[in-house]
């Protein structure tokens, strides 16, 4: 099912490659459930490029954070492969002038959802995985003990199950046909709503329990394409010292909520923070809550329109929602 899409992607990239510095895409990783980013520089690398529901990584952060990607022939564009959610990060980065629209060539891929390998493993047990493929609404994995079939709904990433924008919002070329969104954005905050129904004590209890697991490795921040302060983060500044090195939920709360507040109205809910978290803390949920507020108060959705100004990056005296 995805062989054709991969073939089409390779052909499209090949046609554009002479005009591009490099194309950021995905290639096979260490096992069939994992893909890893690849930087295609010449036609010889094209056979590595792949597209499948295992292409989980949002590649847009490389355009900002990787000096090697940025420091290239400025007369040529950089090619990048994006899913619907990833494309919104590009839009946000364009809005904030980290990248220019005319510097990038976007290979947009309509997406039916990506597979969360941890959910697959959890349903397992799988040993010696030999192959994995998605067929219609099923995931079929072959391991040392034979074939295993999973319902796609049971193994898709949490963000994909509530996806309102499966089709790239910007693209120079589209690979495949647009797909129908699962939900409208207004209806995509079910989990936040379920949290809102809980008492304050229960909510606090939930987050205390979740954030207590945090290692403060900051992978959530470093994997975020929009966490652009990187080496100047409040988590590490010593003067003023916002956070101590003490291991306690108060420090972790402070970090996660400042992190989320810095992303209010900017976060495109690509879920990279949550995916990068080794402790599986649902950190995107905090940002979803803030985005829900932004949507309700300001009718704004991050990363949709390159010309729009994110509401917290501007001041509108005529603001009606507040």
């Amino acid at each position: 099912m995805f062989e054709n899409a991969t073939k089409q992607l390779r052909e499209t990239v090949e046609a554009a490659l002479p005009e591009l510095n490099t194309v950021v895409g995905w290639r096979a990783g260490y096992d069939p459930l994992h893909m890893t980013p690849v930087f295609i520089k010449n036609a010889g690398d094209l056979s590595k490029l792949e597209w499948s529901p295992f292409c989980v990584q949002n590649l847009s952060g490389y355009l900002v954070k990787d000096p090697a990607v940025r420091a290239q022939d400025p007369s040529k564009k950089i090619g990048i492969c994006v899913k619907g959610c990833d494309s919104r990060s590009l839009v946000a980065l364009i809005q904030e002038k980290f990248i220019e629209r005319n510097q990038i060539h976007v290979f947009g891929i309509p997406c039916r959802g990506t597979v969360d390998w941890r959910r697959v493993m959890k349903l397992g047990p799988l040993t010696g995985i030999q192959s994995a493929r998605v067929e219609e609404s099923r995931l079929v994995v072959e391991d040392a003990n034979g074939g295993h079939t999973f319902a796609l709904e049971d193994v898709l990433a949490r963000k994909c199950l509530r996806c309102a924008h499966p089709n790239p919002v910007i693209h120079d070329v589209l690979i495949g046909e647009p797909v129908t969104p699962r939900v409208a954005v207004e209806n995509s905050y079910g989990e936040v709503e379920r949290m809102e129904e809980q008492s304050l004590e229960d909510r606090l209890g939930f987050w205390k329990k979740e954030l207590d697991k945090c290692l403060r490795c900051y992978a959530c921040r470093n994997a975020c394409p929009l966490c652009v302060c990187q080496d100047r983060c409040i988590a590490e500044t010593r003067e003023p010292r916002w956070l101590t090195q003490r291991v306690g939920t108060s420090e972790k709360f402070l970090f996660h909520f400042i992190h989320a507040l810095h992303l209010a109205g900017r976060c495109t809910e690509c879920g990279e923070c949550e995916r990068a978290c080794p402790m599986e803390i649902p950190v995107t949920l905090i940002k979803e809550k803030l985005n829900k507020i932004t949507l309700e108060l300001m009718s704004y959705e991050a990363g949709m329109d390159p010309e729009a100004v994110p509401p917290l990056l501007t001041f509108n005296p005529g603001e009606t929602g507040l």
Binding site: G29, Y30, D31, H34, M35, T36, P37, V38, F39, Q57, G61, Y62, K65, D66, P67, A68, V69, R118, R119, M121, K122, P125, T127, G128, I129, K209, E210, K213, L215, R216, C217, Y218, A219, N222, A223, Q230, D231, E236, T244, Q245, R246, V247, E272, R275, A276, P278, M279, E280
Partner: protein, 354 residues
């Protein structure tokens, strides 16, 4: 005492209840029901250890906690001249005997890297040494592992007993436990009755099969000596590291990554000097007060991480590789960087150039 015991699968909880009355017990357990991740947590009755898969976090924190107090300080004001202060320092450390139940051979081997650095001198880190000396390991005989495992590549293997006090072999219906150390022997009888001959035979079979397993490429470390020749090949490192997000997860989940920072935390007249996990993947790790940074980008930082494990450490410590082959860095990496490939190609591409 026979030095052996059999724990029926459905009595594991009861056995751990008995053990935990004598000594603090850590077990691999799900950090949250319904998710995949497993970490080592202090055992409490009713908890269900997860023994069928490798933990996300190694038991590193049991001996080397994410944060610990090196010393407490107190400002003592001179009552006659409040501008004058003296200090009182206290470096007391509380250490309890503890038992890690359900580690894997790679987890235990991880501490061998620590041991060289923290206990062999010229300076001895007493905080680590004390906790290490009071920790016992009941280790599971491991299976074939998954696609990220490579313990055999670094001189270990699924049946590696080194560093363990008890040897736990999963068999049909339960676990056969046998003592590997005198300290471990003291606890065997507490865990269960002596196994039957059949159970012992079944355990031997599992152990023999595990010993046969070759997990990972046996030639991997042969590439390591090529590191120095590669050091200044920036194209190589760029090609290997361009995907890296510099997120540092690899160092946090790693059983051998021991780098730490020291910070003073305090308010008013009291405080502590803390030691906490740090990561060589972070810019701040080496960034100097002047603004200069000897490892300014992820390229230098990743290169140092690979170099440390596969070149610098063996150079300093009789050829010992500072990697236990557990594969956690590969599994937890958000972009699936494979350190095996980075090490392997040190040599392969060098040969291709030559």
């Amino acid at each position: 005492m026979s030095g052996k015991a059999f724990i029926p699968r459905d009595s594991l909880g009861a056995a751990l209840d008995r053990l935990s009355k004598k000594i603090e017990v850590w077990v691999p357990a799900m950090s949250e029901e319904g998710r995949w991740g497993v970490e080592f947590l202090p055992y409490r009755p009713g908890m269900r250890p997860v023994l069928d898969r490798q933990s996300t976090l190694s038991p590193k924190r049991v001996v080397f906690p994410q944060m610990e107090t090196l010393l407490r300080f107190e400002y003592i004001k001179d009552p006659d001249d409040p501008a004058k202060v003296k200090f009182r320092l206290d470096d007391g450390q509380e250490v309890k005997p503890q038992f890690v139940f359900g580690a894997r051979p790679c987890d235990v081997r991880g501490f061998f890297t620590f041991d060289r650095v923290f206990t062999e001198g010229p300076f001895v880190d007493g905080y680590y040494r004390n906790r290490r000396a009071s920790t016992l390991f009941a280790t599971l005989v491991c299976g074939e592992g998954d696609a990220a495992c490579f313990c055999s590549s670094v001189g270990s293997g699924p049946a590696d007993q080194a560093g363990s006090d008890l040897w736990v072999t999963p068999v049909d219906g339960g676990y056969v436990v046998e003592a590997l150390s005198e300290r471990g022997r003291e606890y065997v009888a507490l865990l269960g009755d002596a196994p039957s001959e059949l159970q012992e035979a079944a355990a031997r079979k599992v152990q023999e099969e595990a010993a046969q397993q070759q997990v990972g490429d046996p030639d991997l470390v042969k590439s390591a000596p090529s590191f120095r020749g590669r050091f200044e090949d920036l194209d190589y490192w760029r090609s290997m590291v361009s995907q890296c997000l510099g997120c540092g997860v690899c160092t946090y989940v790693c059983p051998t990554c021991y780098c730490f920072t020291i910070t003073d935390e305090g308010k008013d007249l009291k405080g502590e000097r803390l030691r906490s996990w740090d990561s060589c993947m972070f810019a701040q790790y080496t960034s100097e007060a002047s603004g200069h940074n000897p490892r300014p980008t992820k390229l230098e930082r990743y290169r140092n991480r690979v170099g440390h494990k596969f070149s610098y450490f063996p150079e300093k410590y009789d050829g010992m590789i500072a990697c236990c082959g557990c594969g956690r860095c590969i599994r937890s990496c958000p972009v699936s960087i494979d350190i095996r490939k980075v090490v392997q190609e040190l040599k392969e591409k060098a040969n291709a150039c030559a």
